[in-house]
Symmetry: D3
Subunit: 285 residues, 6 copies
Amino acid sequence: MEGHEAPLALVDELVGLALREDLGPTGDVTSRLVLPEALTSRARFTAREPLVVAGLSVAGLVYRKIDPRVVFTPLVEPGSLVDRGRALAEVEGPARALFAGERTALNFLQRLSGVATLTRAFADRMKGTRCRLLDTRKTTPGHRVLEKEAVLLGGGVNHRMGLFDGILIKDNHLAAAGGIAVAVRRARSGAHALLRIEVEVDTLAQLEEALALPVDMVLLDNMDVQKLRKAVALRDDRNPRVLLEASGGVTLDSVGAIARTGVDFLSVGALTHSARSVDIGLDAA
Amino acid sequence: MEGHEAPLALVDELVGLALREDLGPTGDVTSRLVLPEALTSRARFTAREPLVVAGLSVAGLVYRKIDPRVVFTPLVEPGSLVDRGRALAEVEGPARALFAGERTALNFLQRLSGVATLTRAFADRMKGTRCRLLDTRKTTPGHRVLEKEAVLLGGGVNHRMGLFDGILIKDNHLAAAGGIAVAVRRARSGAHALLRIEVEVDTLAQLEEALALPVDMVLLDNMDVQKLRKAVALRDDRNPRVLLEASGGVTLDSVGAIARTGVDFLSVGALTHSARSVDIGLDAA
Amino acid sequence: MEGHEAPLALVDELVGLALREDLGPTGDVTSRLVLPEALTSRARFTAREPLVVAGLSVAGLVYRKIDPRVVFTPLVEPGSLVDRGRALAEVEGPARALFAGERTALNFLQRLSGVATLTRAFADRMKGTRCRLLDTRKTTPGHRVLEKEAVLLGGGVNHRMGLFDGILIKDNHLAAAGGIAVAVRRARSGAHALLRIEVEVDTLAQLEEALALPVDMVLLDNMDVQKLRKAVALRDDRNPRVLLEASGGVTLDSVGAIARTGVDFLSVGALTHSARSVDIGLDAA
Amino acid sequence: MEGHEAPLALVDELVGLALREDLGPTGDVTSRLVLPEALTSRARFTAREPLVVAGLSVAGLVYRKIDPRVVFTPLVEPGSLVDRGRALAEVEGPARALFAGERTALNFLQRLSGVATLTRAFADRMKGTRCRLLDTRKTTPGHRVLEKEAVLLGGGVNHRMGLFDGILIKDNHLAAAGGIAVAVRRARSGAHALLRIEVEVDTLAQLEEALALPVDMVLLDNMDVQKLRKAVALRDDRNPRVLLEASGGVTLDSVGAIARTGVDFLSVGALTHSARSVDIGLDAA
Amino acid sequence: MEGHEAPLALVDELVGLALREDLGPTGDVTSRLVLPEALTSRARFTAREPLVVAGLSVAGLVYRKIDPRVVFTPLVEPGSLVDRGRALAEVEGPARALFAGERTALNFLQRLSGVATLTRAFADRMKGTRCRLLDTRKTTPGHRVLEKEAVLLGGGVNHRMGLFDGILIKDNHLAAAGGIAVAVRRARSGAHALLRIEVEVDTLAQLEEALALPVDMVLLDNMDVQKLRKAVALRDDRNPRVLLEASGGVTLDSVGAIARTGVDFLSVGALTHSARSVDIGLDAA
Amino acid sequence: MEGHEAPLALVDELVGLALREDLGPTGDVTSRLVLPEALTSRARFTAREPLVVAGLSVAGLVYRKIDPRVVFTPLVEPGSLVDRGRALAEVEGPARALFAGERTALNFLQRLSGVATLTRAFADRMKGTRCRLLDTRKTTPGHRVLEKEAVLLGGGVNHRMGLFDGILIKDNHLAAAGGIAVAVRRARSGAHALLRIEVEVDTLAQLEEALALPVDMVLLDNMDVQKLRKAVALRDDRNPRVLLEASGGVTLDSVGAIARTGVDFLSVGALTHSARSVDIGLDAA
């Protein structure tokens, strides 16, 4: 019998929540009434369009929580780019359990594969540059860890997971704190030893000020390609070890040009806040 | 002091989950280090494009959970169609709390208003018909109740909430049970007294069979406009009290024609699985 | 190794609660001190009076939660009418676990079999009529799902599970809403597509009004047999597809006469609020 | 503003469970659709038969959890014996909240007042003796603490709360341990310093053996009145500080005679496993 | 396959909490990035100084919760006194899981073995007397049950587990209640039948008063050896069945003399509030 | 009325756990029986020895959870060094609530102030150097966040909070991964953009290798003062922006000399694994 690593606590909780909202206090009434208890069944999750696969392990968890007797077997590697018609996973077990989990499993698979697929599209346009594609905190509430994993599978790199594991001093912080210098000093003296510090700037003047401080990374907010090139030059001149992140309104059309400015990272909220669900079906096998 | 109705348990849980994933075990490190504890602040959620508003109460809950001292005041009615620039809500309280909740509140507001806005677009195209717009179970896991409320605000009607509060016998159930007649009989004799029964059919022959049974509603899966018209005629002839739902691949282009076939309901998965986040910002007030 | 369907979330929670109240923070002190850890044992749950069996699966869950090594084997079908002396289930495993779970398992079995047994008594007196026996929401807090299942096993039919999966407009609603017509209209336009609507009436005049509205079922509150007959006649005349439910003060003595009036359903709060525990013991095997 | 002691954790959890089973994922659909949000209302819980009042604080908690704006005001002291028609508590607040909590509050009040009322009946028949009335662990799963409090309000005394806060060595323990002496010794040497030890005996010979050991109390199982008198005499002679508890099949008819045998305690499972719900209604005020 | 008794609810919760604080929302980042998923490993927990072993089962639970595939095998009996170098347990399984659990497992083992080791030191100095060593409620919040078990393993006896399973009337209670007599009477008449009652006294005069009341045990607070001897004599004279507990400032130096005064128990807060962590390491095997 | 920032989720959970273990299913039996419900009281937490104060807010939370009517008022700033006799906080409210929370509040205050006090002792010996004092993950399970805050209050700096918010590649990782270079590369390419990377080395040769890689910090394990000086020199020569942390067996005696070697950080497990509880009492005010 195959074992299983315990899922991350938040993922486990989200799946529990998703099942409770669909099953309510009483479960899948239709299947309980219509299907014999002893009936077993087998089916396959199949891509109905080309896509990058993500969400297989959470789909497996959905079934394991409904009925431990269900066997869920992935048929492709997470992160694979597959064609229409490709079987992604097989599920086998009591028919009632298969019905009860189908919609929730699909809802996860379609959304997460959608994120991975969109990420791949952006990443493909950045090929040949050293710039890396970052996600943001603009994720679906409760799905942060899953969506960030989908970004990895699509070829992106994660930005910080949340407010707790990275310091990003934004313009509002600067205003309230009284300037970059004091904000950075406070952050560095109180942050734990392994947290990096990033500061957001809107102008090259601010960037210059930031490059003189003990920051690890600077977020260049809403700068156009020309300005980004100047920012890179300034960084190379003043403090080459500081990383630069471009952010703001990046689209599939503009991503290539931005990546070629020489910034180290480029972050795209759309990866998670605007990915559409891709089409995946469950077919009797 | 204003009181508050307790939130639905699942909504409360989802918001807790969303905050834990963003705040982690240690909270908003940046704000704690950079902002003075006593600093208070005020800001407004503002539409950056025309949209139908949804998610205000869950945004308020986000802040209430972070710090009960925060006051969140909606400035428009849920379901309002607003123009770009309109302030949707004001939030006031400890600055650290405002920063800690901003992203999560926005993530909810943008997604849910996105669902309401898309629903309104579909509903508008159905005006002048008696057909009503239904959502589906293709919702974001954990967000079912919120998204279904956004559909209502956008002018749609809810289909069942989940597997527990409505009986929908699908083609796979029919296959496993051995036919429509036996499946409907089993469902009716075991279901509780206030649950309606709907059965999915793919052909007019199946519809004819269903109309002879004690069903309340029939789902017409993936039929084109012509076939739908025939289905309506058949229903009117055989069992006029049975409701008809059209389903499958409905788009903004096709919705009007389908609505005019005379079906009672038309369900659109895209309302919840493919709505994009609309643009809402938080501006210092 | 036999698998197990995961229990419904609320049942799982109730059993956890029941064990925590009995085991406290420290568990079964007596057995831990007095019994050797390695001792295993076997015992049988036995009917000490004639009864209809319910609660076997929750009794099994009690033991599974205490110690997964315990094997609980039902020996009769749920819903069976058994004589005094009949063994209902066998339990085998570590002696400490058997002792720790005995009282809680019995408390469930005795109460739930009590509900099933009382339901059977009512149902038996309704034989030969088409009237069906309904339960109510007068259940033991936290035990709703279990008691409703016991009603099914005893030969009854469930009314709605709770406030969420059926619409029942009561007299107080009518007063507050300003009449039946407006209340029914509001309910139908906002309710989801698969929820039935029932309205409570006290008089034949109200019934007449209700029968002209899009309701699915009418609750006839506290009407005597003569009035119920008139109600049935009125329904047959005006709107034969509306179902009628008689309610209020039904006893074992009156149930037969009421059932013969032609109402479709008859609901009895006593099934769950006044069933006594039947006598079941656990004997060493 | 009046404050509130936080409820015991298990009571809080049970009430949460009770509300979730009745409200489901979506709440009270009928009231939400039919009643205006701003409507407030007032009502009184009223005895419809003579009864001893219990459950007021848990009924108040039900409403507080649904909507903190509801004000619940007890009108009688817990444990009062009241006549038919007496108002027990008043509840005032948003009408939707009053409807949503009515059934759950009543389900608690009727059951717990039923336990208190039955306890009072037993206790009344023991007046004039020094014998005290005990409850057992035959309580409704999840309701232990509440039912034991109802027993106190009815004039009884609690036995141990669960397996964790008192040692009761039963016949099966004795068999497995190899005799009373060894079982008592093991229990005393491992139990914590403030736990009393009770041992169950079936015969006077066993009682004699127990009285020679460091036990605090002896349970006399299923002895008739004559045997109980002998047991008391034996105890008075051998070890007068040991307490005696009579148990097994005590009824309202037999309780007086047993209490007069001189036993210190008399335990009655029926107090909690067979109390019927008393009739309490909620009337608009 | 070996089964497992389910852990006590509070222990299970504490371990869950400990893992969530260490793993956060995202888990062991280092191991996930650096180690291959398929790598398995084996290691041994080894004493780096002489110690009394406690905490093995909770260490096993830590790993079981991280990944059910990990096999944790204790190599010594709980409560054993072992020398430096002795292997206490072996753990084998996926390398990532071993790394993820190492620190938490060690943190439990080192603290709990520290408590057992210190308890043994105290108990050793009490040998040859009939006095028994008690712990107190001065335990680490959330670790009560585990630390009390470590005290047992070290040779001590538990005092009550908490405020719920034993009555200890302290000086502040006496002041508020208006004297020992009334306090004891109230306690005895309301406490459940198997709870012992202890009362705290500061003077011999108070002890004399207490010995005339129905108390089971008296706590002699902060008395020196001479006074304790007088207290024992008084007890022997007035009410020999009452147990005496000495408390307050007991050290390894003073414990022997106090134990020889004839008191039945001696309680030491330091067992749990001042035990240091003992040195245990995890070595690749 | 003063508001309150919501506590961090893990702290809230730990306090709930601590109360459940002490209060059990039934609460503080003694106070409920002995003290009148209406009695209110006031008391002060007072230092019984010189100490650095930590834990005030969690002590306040303990009372707030028991009874929201209790008012807890800190009288000194967190992190203050106070003399024996100084009042640290005042608590006022229902007497039963004050008794119920006393022990748990003290258990937190004494332990956390113990950590802060020990940290201060180490930090004092490092004065005059630029070296900073770090804590470790050797914390009490479930108390991580609280103990790390106490370290800050004592004058230390936090190392990463857990396995999730910092990358520390240890010797075992290196062995399994096949060398420093590959391990660092894997970590850097998969870690999120704001996580620093630290690598553990045992020798100067390893340090040399590490300094050539993109690491942010190096942990020098168990090196003596002489070796640490050489490490600092090597770092200054090869890669001056890399931070150095000395670790292993640091004591109050050795800490000064190590700090003067020029390392940037020095970590001490004893701050949290071996701090003793300081003496704090609660006196009626």
